[in-house]
Amino acid sequence: MSVRIENKGDVVTAYLEGELDHHNAKAIREDVDAALDRHSPGLLVLDFREITFMDSSGIGLVMGRYKKLQGTGAQIHITGTSPPIYKVMQIAGLSKLANIDKGGKTLEKTAE
């Protein structure tokens, strides 16, 4: 499991990779939070394209970042979710907290 973080203008993008479970979530959270603290972005993009497995720990990751950014006016955008990952997110009603798109096309638009 790894995460590559990119900062462009007002946008922090976290490219998540591998299996997102409780065991792996902590390291990702710490990396993403460090980038949020450093850049105070207006938009956080979580890119799930390279995630091969996710359980509710992934929901915790999104909800935790939502809470962290609350009050800053920053938005969360989730992209690249495969059907199984989207299914887990739907249980949590994450679409109320973040914009979710499955294809990942909006990402390029947002990041440029």
Binding site: H22, H23, A25, F53, D55, S56, S57, G60, M63, K87
Partner: protein, 151 residues
């Protein structure tokens, strides 16, 4: 219950690195039924949730043993029991409420909700300081017929 066709039992320490091992073990075993990718993914996710609960709740303060017992029954029903001898659950109904968590912060409180919606049936028995047993089952579509029979 229908005729038992196959089973495996697994005993492991409550280390978080075993979350991945447990769900992959269950998925590999169930592969003999030629499940769809969605069925396989559902079962992996449910096992991951059950095992994570043992690690973060049951054995929160200690390292304990988690027991997984997976059985395949005639007709393609898979039953998975995940058992621990940890702290147990005081109020099962409350613990199963979506978004309820005793851990706050980074846990969504959706473990049971995921198990419930990804499996056909979920039963939880628990007693404080005695431990918890989660039993979940799912009937697979058996696209290729009852493969496990021939093994």
């Amino acid at each position: 219950m229908k005729k038992l066709l196959n089973e495996f039992k697994l005993r492991m320490l409550s280390r978080s690195s075993n979350e991945s091992f447990a769900r992959v073990a269950a998925a590999s075993f169930i592969a003999q039924l030629d499940p769809t990718i969605e069925e396989l993914s559902d079962i992996k996710t449910a096992v991951s949730e059950a095992v994570t609960n043992c690690i973060v709740h049951a054995y929160k303060e200690e390292l304990g043993t988690i027991y997984i017992w997976t059985r395949i029954f005639e007709g393609g029903t898979v039953e998975i029991k995940v058992r621990d001898y940890g702290c147990g659950i005081e109020n099962i109904a409350k613990a199963m409420e979506p978004l309820y968590t005793t851990l706050g912060g980074e846990r969504a409180g959706l473990g049971f909700a995921v198990m419930q919606s990804f499996m056909d049936k979920l039963t939880v028995t628990s007693a404080p300081s005695k431990g918890t047993c989660v039993t979940m089952s799912k009937k697979l579509s058996l696209r290729m017929g009852d493969n496990a029979k021939q093994g």
